[in-house]
């Protein structure tokens, strides 16, 4: 039976004849890695170019694919020591990059304009004291206009577009007052220059654009960076399926290329890639990711299996079916649709501020115009005063107040091994007061742990370890991990029963009770460890039973205790049996729990909590958690979660500890505090500056100083989001000292190798 890996769907053929493929490379950290990869690939003559992007850990290869298959490039990279994963370079990725470059161009142009106009403005301001002649002042103003007009037309586009869109749809956003302020400032300055006036506001208009563009760019970069990391993780975990062709060949394809009706091969230890019916074979599957149930389910020909479950003992042939109504998946998808419809639309802090702020500013400007007219100042002077009010109040600091904090906080999240899906995740996380955990895979680790390790002597464990290392069975893997066994014995596999090897002249077996002829020992162990799954070892007359249990994440108890100390409500809702959930709840300090909960019951509980006025954070990983994740106010998933669950979580955390959940909430709280501080600071700044403007005392110099001063103050305050005090005691190894990129990538690779493709 031949095995071909088909990557053709990842290869593009731009004009020029060469094939191009984008890859996510694991373990690229520094310049040395760049050199090793690029030089290593350059040795191959048919590879035209290979360029590593260190910022997003990607590699672009251009080569002649008449000589080299894409799979061979992956093999070469693997040989160099950098496993790579094909990356589907879709539209949204390139659109993000285009948008970012557009903003950068605008920023560059605005910076150029700003510097040159300021050069002239400073001369004019000092000229007021040194008797600059009116002709020279006018000349300087005209040059400023010459620079400002094209610069504003070019660099203002991001704001003009968004403001126009908002006005068309009858909404109000921050860009409307910005656009109005900038345009009026430029217009008024042109008119003033025409009339040989003393003051022109070209510098204010361009400076405003510069600061706001900086904020906009930071926002865009944060978004792109989180999306890059998320896309990389997706590419590294991208499940492939082994399609069984009619002629007996096996072709490994991305799951997206599998069609309904295809026959798929699932080997023991593999994750079932698609939903389908078993056509051939009988095995057990671990459905903990699907239902939360930790006991293996037996499946035989005709049984339904779900994507995300792990095939335990025997090779299965699965026929891909459309989702049938009445199946578990159909039910979950329906619940998910309902939950998404009901999800209350969250209004981000910045939009809330804009809704309050814009009418207030416009009303103030209008009133000062009317006031001056009534006071008999003449309509032209009154108009100038009103426009000055608009310029002074233009939300420069307000535009930076939220994105600056978001950028710094998302950096802190990265360091805490949390990757957010969107900017408003921060604000929603900050409001949480009740936390609901799923048990299996969330509070516990996805892999089992040896429960009776203390009763085992080292040689026995080592013996079992060498046998276990040769198997992909999850129980065997737990034994191998406990024994830290690396070199597998030369074993003979008995599918569905166990493995056997001859050790010290005597056959040694690791496997089921019958296989090891140890039914009595199994029964005794089952009484002592009612929640564990058992695997036996027989070597001559030696009989040992290993009890494998779901292990709590190492810091779960401390994290839960810390949450309760901080006044959060904590509870468990699991799809698993009552006994198992009860013991976990007790270990965590006797927290409330619900067991054997179906997806609909999880949602019902969340709705009850929300109705009682709580803001709920749901932490879950399973397919059965996906609707609950969508129904909660905000949700987190571990990186090992099912795809559907990850897609509906607001953030994903990495590593084997639970501390990232605690840190995420603490960082979010601090971030929201800083955002509010920034917003209040902008308000106070306006309280001081607006009366000056209304009184007609504000000069361009005052406007420039106030604007840049407040922007810098807001930005500096945002930097405080970098560190969180009191970030939990049990910082796990994954939560510390990892550079954002490395943190994001290596645990993903760990997750991948756990899924171990054949």
């Amino acid at each position: 039976m031949t095995h071909i890996r088909d990557l053709s769907s990842f290869v593009q053929h731009p004009a020029g004849g060469n094939a191009v493929m984008d890859l996510v490379v694991d373990g690229v950290k520094c310049g040395g890695c760049i050199g090793a990869i690029e030089r290593g690939l350059a040795k191959e003559s048919s590879i035209r170019s290979a360029r590593v992007n260190l910022a997003n850990k990607r590699l672009r290869v251009e080569w002649d694919d008449t000589f080299l298959k894409p799979d061979e490039i992956l093999q070469k990279l693997e040989a160099i020591g950098y496993p790579a994963f094909p990356f589907a370079n879709n539209d949204s990725v390139s659109r993000e990059a285009v948008e970012e470059r557009f903003l950068l161009r605008c920023l560059g142009v605005a910076a150029f304009g700003m510097m040159n106009i300021m050069l002239l403005s400073v001369s004019v301001w000092s000229g007021h004291d040194t008797n600059m002649s009116p002709e020279v002042r006018d000349f300087f103003h005209w040059i400023s206009a010459l620079i400002a007009l094209p610069v504003v037309a070019y660099s203002g586009r991001p704001f003009f577009r968004s403001a126009l869109k908002a006005i068309r749809s009858g909404a109000m956003n921050m860009d409307v007052p910005i656009t109005l302020g900038v345009l009026l400032a430029v217009l008024m300055s042109v008119v003033e220059t025409w009339q040989h006036a003393e003051n022109a506001y070209f510098d204010s208009a361009v400076m405003l654009l510069l600061f706001l563009l900086a904020g906009r760019l930071l926002d865009q970069q944060m978004r792109r960076r989180t999306r890059d990391v998320a896309n990389n993780l997706q590419a590294m975990q991208a499940d492939t399926a082994c399609k069984l062709l009619p002629d007996g060949q096996v072709r490994e394809l991305p799951v997206a290329d599998i069609r309904i009706g295809d026959l798929v091969l699932v080997r023991p230890g593999d994750r079932v890639p698609v939903d389908g019916k078993v056509e051939y074979g009988a095995s057990e599957v671990d459905q903990s990711l699907v239902t939360g149930e930790t006991v293996y389910a037996a499946v035989a020909s005709g049984a339904q299996v779900y994507a995300g479950s792990i095939n335990v003992s025997n090779t299965l042939h699965v026929r891909v079916t459309a989702e049938g109504a009445g199946t578990l998946l159909g039910e979950i998808k329906q619940l998910l649709r309902n939950a998404l419809e009901q999800r209350s639309s969250y209004v981000a802090l910045a939009d809330k501020a804009a809704r309050l702020y814009a009418p207030l500013v416009h009303a103030t400007a209008l009133l000062s115009f009317l006031g001056w007219v009534l006071a008999g100042a003449g309509w032209q002077t009154s108009l100038i005063t009103a426009i000055t009010v608009l310029i002074i109040t233009c939300p420069c600091a307000l535009g930076l107040a939220v994105p600056a904090v978001q950028v710094v906080a998302s950096g802190a999240m990265f360091r805490a091994s949390v990757i957010m899906n969107g900017g408003d995740t921060l604000e929603r996380l900050a409001g949480v007061d009740h936390i609901v955990f799923d048990k299996t895979g969330t509070l516990t680790l996805p892999d089992g742990r040896l429960a009776n390790r203390g009763e085992l002597d080292e040689p026995t464990l080592q013996l079992a370890g060498t046998l276990a290392a040769a198997s992909k069975h999850p129980l065997a893997r737990a034994v191998a991990t406990a024994a830290q066994a690396k070199t597998p014995a030369a074993v003979r596999e008995f599918p569905g029963r166990g493995v056997e090897a001859v050790i010290a002249g005597v056959p040694a077996r690791l496997g089921s009770a019958e296989f090891c002829d140890a039914v009595d020992a199994f029964a005794a162990a089952a009484r002592r460890y009612p929640e564990a799954s058992l695997i036996g070892l027989r070597h001559g007359s030696l009989v040992k039973v290993f009890a494998v249990e779901q292990a709590l994440r190492s810091d779960a108890a401390e994290v839960v205790a810390e949450f309760r100390r901080l006044g959060f409500g904590v509870e468990i809702i699991s799809g698993d049996r009552e006994a198992t959930v009860r013991s976990i709840a007790l270990q965590l300090g006797d927290i409330p729990f619900r067991s054997a909960a179906k997806p609909a019951e999880k949602i019902a509980r969340l709705h009850a909590l929300k109705a009682a006025g709580h803001r709920v954070l749901m932490v879950g990983d399973g397919l059965n958690d996906a609707p609950a994740l969508a129904a909660a106010d905000v949700s987190l998933s571990p990186i090992t979660a099912a795809h559907l669950a990850q897609a509906h979580a607001d953030a994903v955390f990495l590593g084997s500890s639970l501390t990232p959940v605690l840190k995420a909430v603490l960082i979010a709280r601090k971030a929201r505090r800083l955002m509010l501080q920034n917003l209040w600071f902008s308000v106070i700044y306006n309280f001081i500056a607006v009366p000056l403007a209304i009184a007609g005392l504000a000069t361009p110099l005052i406007a420039a100083a106030a604007m840049s001063g407040s922007s810098v103050a807001v930005t500096l305050n945002s930097l405080r989001a970098r560190s969180v005090r009191n970030a939990g005691h049990g910082a796990g190894p994954s939560a510390t000292a990892l550079s954002p990129g490395a943190a994001a990538l290596s645990p993903g690779a760990a997750a991948l190798s756990q899924r171990a493709a054949p």
Binding site: G35, V52, L54, R101, G108, M115, N116
Partner: protein
């Protein structure tokens, strides 16, 4: 004040040159990988060929 006739175009010209340099470097993808660029500058790859 005739000096202004030289100095202002000169200042603007220098600024424009900087802006064009920035736009050119952006266009030629030099801003795509800011981390990698730093490492490439100190890479010793080119030394091997000389020896």
């Amino acid at each position: 004040m005739n000096i202004l006739l030289y100095l202002i175009p000169l200042a603007l010209g220098l600024g424009l040159a900087g802006l064009l340099a920035f736009l050119w470097s952006l266009h030629s993808h030099q801003f795509d990988d800011l981390e990698g660029a730093g490492w490439r500058a100190i890479s010793d790859d080119d030394l091997d060929t000389k020896q």
